[in-house]
Symmetry: C2
Amino acid sequence: MSIRTEIIAVGSELLLGQIVNSNAQFLSLELAELGMNVYYHTVVGDNPTRLEQAVKIAKERSNVIIFTGGLGPTKDDLTKETIAKTLGKKLVFDQEALDSIEQYFVQTKRIMSENNKKQALVLEDSFILKNDYGMAPGMALNVDQTIYMLLPGPPSEMKPMFQNYGREYFEKQFGFQEKIISRVLRYFGIGESQLETDIQDIIDEQLNPTVAPLAADGEVTLRLTAKHQDEHVANQLLDELEQKIQSRVGEFFYGYEQTTLPQELKKLLLAKQKTVSAAESLTGGMFSEQITALDGASQLFKGSLVCYTNEMKEQLLNVSKQTLDKNGAVSEECAKEMADQIRKLSNSDIGISFTGVAGPQPLEDKPVGTVFMGISFSGKETQVYRFHFAGSRNGIRVRTVKYGCHYLVKLLSEIE
Amino acid sequence: MSIRTEIIAVGSELLLGQIVNSNAQFLSLELAELGMNVYYHTVVGDNPTRLEQAVKIAKERSNVIIFTGGLGPTKDDLTKETIAKTLGKKLVFDQEALDSIEQYFVQTKRIMSENNKKQALVLEDSFILKNDYGMAPGMALNVDQTIYMLLPGPPSEMKPMFQNYGREYFEKQFGFQEKIISRVLRYFGIGESQLETDIQDIIDEQLNPTVAPLAADGEVTLRLTAKHQDEHVANQLLDELEQKIQSRVGEFFYGYEQTTLPQELKKLLLAKQKTVSAAESLTGGMFSEQITALDGASQLFKGSLVCYTNEMKEQLLNVSKQTLDKNGAVSEECAKEMADQIRKLSNSDIGISFTGVAGPQPLEDKPVGTVFMGISFSGKETQVYRFHFAGSRNGIRVRTVKYGCHYLVKLLSEIE
């Protein structure tokens, strides 16, 4: 049987443009991974007549219809009622949902209104999808070879419900024997087109696992997806493919799944018991901000000096007047001194420095995008990297910080 | 005539979940402002049969159908072709669009393929919507009392096309005599529910202009929208309403439209010719990063010290050992010394300091969310503010920086 899926979002706030339909995007990604074709997204308001018509159209053209929204306690929430009417089904109380709603009101010492009880109503004969993050349960039922799945509107409730219960429901309904396992590999320091060129033959020849590249914010990710009845074999397929890819582009690989460069840097600093401090000019505190955004940053980060003026570089960071006069603040020499000085001043193992021209105006006759980055590490010669970035002021700063993390990760990977 | 609008996005990438349908959100907001009802959003893939069916369904239930996407040069781009077929219209070359495409290829010294010419094809008898940011023109036509408008998919092309040409087309078609003018007022330091309570009677009694509150990231905005044939009168209506609102909640107002607290701070620092420096503990550089994100920051910002450890606070910032030992780093005394010291060290007019507990662990027996902020200004007594924020590590840091900007703006507004 060919699966033809339609996602219907119910909510006037979508039609007024107050929110974007991110639920449809999330579900589409999930369904693509399950191998289920999505042919339509529909958005309809909190209006029973138009919703009923939308359900009728969907019944004609789709055999899986997933609804999001309209399961709440107010009178605007009419998804269940409308579908019940369209399918000729009754609404009945789900005792478990009712209990958990009542319990919630006892716990929070609030008074439950009759409206809240309405959330425990479900379509008769439906399979209940538990809501671990809210009150309204989801449900799924198969009527005349068409599957109806009702999910709540708030993404914080809908997403875990689908991932924990909705997927499994479809796997069982359609007898998907195969396990689908994905692995995301993250790369930095290589462009998307270069990475794709380097592994084009692998991408082309792969049917299982598949390889899907994606570029964002100067990083490239590869999503490897394997299907197999045996989860162990699926993982083996991923291992083999990963090895093949890494033998080509492994030097740019930095981590798996949702990790970030600062997170990988944090892991390595903790593992090697090293501390870092930064002297930031063009990045203006962005490196420090990203490091301290992570829990437990105080174990690996002592502090930084944001030295935006030459005066600050000279007086607080002890960069020599001669260097500033002769080479300028945007120079290899200044980057080197900045890295060395911040390491010493803060008594850290590593000092990193960023100086350059974020724009929009050139500085010291150096064009916008010129960046020098110094890395000072006790017992090693201080390294200075030179970059020339294109893009906006913010883009240049973001890329600079990413390269900082990237080279620190490389350095720490190489030491004992 | 009642307007029933449907927005149809064409593109398989939407159904695969690779992108979110932000175009529909944008257009919905614009259409709401024009007073045009949007009843459906539809997403359909690059498939002529399903697109044709979607157009037929839309014709039955809507009298304004706006398409986004599928106007590009590849064989997947089939919106025009499908609509031409459905409406029994021919496609003809638009000479102006053809010229501009040819010119683009001459300028960029690239070779134009026949595919690119396809972008200059338009529906016969249609009104052309110029594409100032890309090659494919948009178009609009009225067939049997139904308006069809075709817009390109890339938001960078679609948005200006609609705002500059699409809106005007609808205004003329529907004879909207009224000008619709919006004004956004931004507030900080007051919760959404408090602000709404303070002006509930104004919100309730207003029909023209209308008032719509929106809360995001700890800020509240009010969108005032006036309609009138005479633009001057519409602006007067907004002025009167704004005055009425500001007399109640004006002390929390900080700016208009898309401005931010750091931008307002920058304006005031420049106007009053003052400089600022920061001593950042829990914020880890976030204040400095936001200030330096703005063009020309070097005129008002000299630098900062990110002092994450007591060692840094004592040795580089000269916070007294006694204060750190007796009161701790998270204390009024420490915040005061930090603000005074950074002002002196950096030779700035204003020093601001942030110290507190961002979490997830408590610090010095102070609970997560405890924040002290010092503001030192030459010739004035140093002020220390104490906060207790709820929320995540990042949420606490973000709110702290916003309050920092907020109080600096207040201070600068009050001085000569």
